[in-house]
Symmetry: C2
Subunit: 205 residues, 2 copies
């Protein structure tokens, strides 16, 4: 399946109904997360975590804190995409693979850490925005990667953040950004819904 | 150029250096925005605007409020991706094309509007989160679409939001979520930076 990205974007649907008889393997799931982590983040923070909810017990717990949406039970996997606050604290570790690979010097990495440490502590709104940005960029990458593999997906922001945090033992710096269900669509889903005309939402400057 | 999405994701770089001699046409730019608007949003809010900054004068104004980052001047276009607050207010208009196309009934659309109106007013954090989510999902779609067209991109969260709002006459409900530069990469960019191992950022449940 070698569709061009344009066709993938144009054909992607938000699936409400999933085929309950077709699972995804743990290897499939991990591959989706690997691709999601190739999304960009400010400073290359990689300030995210991915919880792949795919056991019946965990699905039941997640469904209970996401307004009982049936697709959480029906889809083979729902990812809890978590953005993390205080991203500057994890930056040295996040940049280490780039230093080890010789892409950036330790000095450059240290300079980036200094910049982040000068702007993020004491700025909770920036930290939260960065968690939302990173998590959402990863979520979109994951959904398009899934589409490219012939699967379908759905992004959910309808969940109880405190309930998700409690049920899945999130830390105080963990912000559940979005849930993303992935699997094979069942019949009955809406087609891609038409959008407002481009000229209504864009301007040139 | 018919690369598979997986290869696009794996080869995407965040470009710092752009070829200043290769422009994009306004039609190219509008096509990127059209594809970006096919990203999902909660309720299909489509709570976003896209300002395509590509004139020398507008680039200079944007560069001045984005820490003088040279790529804003060098790239043929930088998109200011704006998420909008009070998304529930625009929902009837956003769903109208789906009703007109017969995809959902007016009753279903009205039900979605009721749900949004019951949850969004009086919840500024939810509104802001939704603006960040929608804008970031669109930004990622735009970047992968650009990649598929053989162009390069870079996401910037390093800008002065108040300055961007002032210079580009954003309204009080407009949140500048991200800047995205698009163009042809010049030599000298970093390759894609390696990420932390998947097992460090994912767990199964």
């Amino acid at each position: 399946m070698q569709q061009h990205i344009k066709q993938l974007i144009e054909s992607r649907i938000s699936a409400n109904y999933f085929d309950t008889t077709r699972p995804l393997s743990d290897a499939d799931i991990a591959e989706l997360v690997r691709l999601a982590t190739l999304a960009p983040t400010a400073y290359n923070f990689q300030n995210w975590k991915f919880i792949a909810v795919r056991s019946p017990q965990a699905k039941a717990r997640l469904k209970a804190v996401s307004y009982k949406q049936q697709k959480v039970e029906d889809a083979p996997v729902t990812f809890i995409i978590v953005g993390t606050l205080a991203a500057h604290e994890g930056l040295p570790q996040a940049l280490k693979p780039s230093v080890d690979a010789g892409i950036m010097s330790q000095k450059v990495a240290d300079g980036l850490v200094t910049m982040a440490v000068n702007s993020h502590p004491g700025n909770p709104q920036l930290q939260r925005d960065e968690a939302l940005r990173s998590g959402s960029l990863a979520a979109m990458t994951l959904m398009l990667a899934a589409e490219g593999m012939g699967w379908n997906s759905s992004a959910l922001s309808g969940f109880d953040p405190a309930g998700v945090a409690r049920e899945f033992k999130l830390g105080e710096n963990d912000v559940p950004v979005m849930l993303v269900t992935v699997g094979f669509a069942a019949p009955g889903n809406w087609p891609q819904k038409p959008r407002r005309p481009v000229q209504e939402v864009m301007e040139f400057a």
